[in-house]
């Protein structure tokens, strides 16, 4: 029997892949699909049923998950990242939902688990003898059909006075740190910058709790950031009916920003964790046709390069990608690419000279990206089920 506890909006690709693969297995098993968000301590959802308000929280979902485990083999599709809020590697050794899952799998040590996950490199946190991990694509696979219909932003405005785009919507520590760095390096006038949590963060290191020798530099930058107006006034309501329609947001809002910028400093959801969930933020940048400076977990650029994405290695210095220290990785990502971020005419010329490469990446994102995730998941699943 398949149990579907909660589906996030927009996930058709990985849900169908999980459904298709788990339908092939003939031995007794439990197949469970769940949105990871429901397992995080902060999750609360209220609805009205028969005139009564029903509130569900993470403990309810953890109980549902445990109560659903009966058969010798358990196939769990867990969509989305396993870090609610921010992950602090100086204080925590494993993201909180990953820890919960690890505890669960250890508790049921006599059963075999197959975990479909949105994360790459989850093995860096969970390795157990009764667990097989199948990464089956992160949120970058959401809204597959809607994104495929989008027109990539190749009609750039070459009269633009900005080179780069930096979108910082949801409050996360690495986004606050990045903003401090951009202002400290006086880069703010070269880019379009948004931040929706400017008023919520009063003290940078009080909030981030990051450990770095560059603390003073970042604090100074953060003071400058707090004192100045941002070039983009972001809004809370960007989706129709609260349905997280990222393709709609791209078409109706982000396209305007992408038309006047040529480089994007992408601040992905994951950053301080060693496992990562690629999301629509990376996908938007591909459709927005910008040179990518990708602030995500260590090795993310290498991952995209390996699966066939053009990371513009001859133009963007991605040396930062292999640096483990979060602050140093961010610092190098920006400072190694200062010329690209500030030399407006040169960056525009580089863009013009490489326009076809952007189109190729969009084509990759429309088709081969999904083929890669699908083929890899099938291959691992076949191996896992044949080994049993």
């Amino acid at each position: 029997m398949k149990l579907i506890f909660k589906r996030p909006p927009g996930d058709n690709f990985s849900f169908r892949l999980w459904f298709s693969l788990t339908s092939q297995i003939q031995t007794p098993h439990d197949a469970i699909y769940i949105w990871a968000t429901t397992l995080g301590p902060e999750y609360t959802y209220s609805s009205i049923q028969d005139g009564k308000t029903i509130i569900e929280n993470s403990a309810d979902f953890r109980k549902m998950l445990i109560d659903a485990i009966h058969e010798p083999t358990i196939l769990i599709g867990i969509k989305d990242h396993l870090t609610p809020g921010d992950f602090n590697p100086w204080q925590c050794s494993i993201p909180i939902i990953a820890q919960n899952l690890k505890n669960l799998i250890e508790y049921f040590h006599s059963k075999n688990f197959v975990l479909f996950t949105s994360l790459e490199n989850l093995e860096s946190y969970i390795q157990l003898p009764n667990l097989s991990i199948i990464p089956w694509g992160g949120d970058i696979t959401n809204h597959q059909k809607e994104y495929a219909q989008l027109i990539p932003v190749i009609d750039k405005n070459f009269n633009s006075q900005t080179t780069f785009l930096s979108l910082n919507r949801h409050q996360r520590t690495h986004r606050a740190m990045l903003l401090a760095l951009l202002y400290k390096l006086n880069l703010q006038n070269f880019g379009l910058i948004s931040c929706m949590f400017k008023d919520q963060v009063l003290d940078l290191f009080e909030y981030t709790q990051w450990k770095t020798k560059k603390q003073q530099m970042f604090e100074e930058g953060f003071t400058q950031f707090k004192d100045q107006q941002l070039s983009i006034a972001d809004e809370y309501e960007i989706y129709i009916g609260g349905n997280n329609d990222n393709a709609y947001n791209f078409k109706n809002k982000l396209t305007t920003y992408y038309q006047t910028t040529f480089v994007e400093i992408i601040t992905e959801t994951s950053y301080t964790e060693s496992c990562f969930n690629l999301t629509e933020k990376t996908l938007n940048s591909i459709y927005g046709c910008c040179f990518p400076i990708l602030l995500c977990s260590t090795g993310t650029v290498a991952f995209l390069r390996d699966i066939g994405m053009d990371m513009f290695d001859d133009i963007v210095d991605h040396s930062y990608d292999q640096i483990a220290d979060p602050t140093e990785r961010m610092y190098r990502a920006i400072t190694d690419n200062i010329e690209l971020l500030t030399n407006i005419q040169q960056t525009k010329n580089l863009w013009k000279g490489n326009e076809q490469r952007f189109i190729k990446n969009v084509n990759f994102a429309r088709t081969r990206l999904f083929e890669f995730y699908s083929n890899r998941a099938k291959s691992i699943f076949d191996k896992v089920t044949n080994d049993e």
Partner: protein, 200 residues
Amino acid sequence: MDDSIAILIDCWESTAVENKQRNANILDFINQSSFIKTVVLASYHTYPEYNTDIVWYKNHAELFNSHNTPRKIQHLNLVYSHHPTTPFFLGKRLPLNKTESSILNFVNSKKFQIAMHWTWELEYYLTLNPNIKNVFLLGGSWSACVTDRPLGLLTLLEIENINILTQILCISDLTKSLQLPLQEPWKLKHNNIYYYETNI
């Protein structure tokens, strides 16, 4: 005095002078009270702390989720390992709280320090330590969290064979001013320590 346990409820960071003083008083009281053998950190709505290596949470993981832990306790811990936060109040998102750093980073090698959030955790701990007879309720706010939380007064009253006490310099109430002396069924024992009289 019999062996005692002190439960520190929602000793959050706060700019209020009363809370800072209360937290300082709590640490003094614990340090000076040799009869307090165990200190429980019951910080709700502070989940980023839960999965850290800080002593309170490390001991929680070791007690409730180790290879030696009974399976029924491990099972409960899988469901209730973290207290769900209450992020919305009257439709507005509440910011997460933080345990005040002096409390969070407090270490006294003569005490066993452990985080708990649920009644079953305390009950399990008491079964392992039957010599503990007294439970001190400390923290804030007295009329809300200290009363209503899963480790608050109303739940403790349902646990048999324990005495419930408090120390009035170690509690505070920002929503209402704390009414002192505490009214019945609280009764003064000595030196600002009150006990809850259950036989009235």
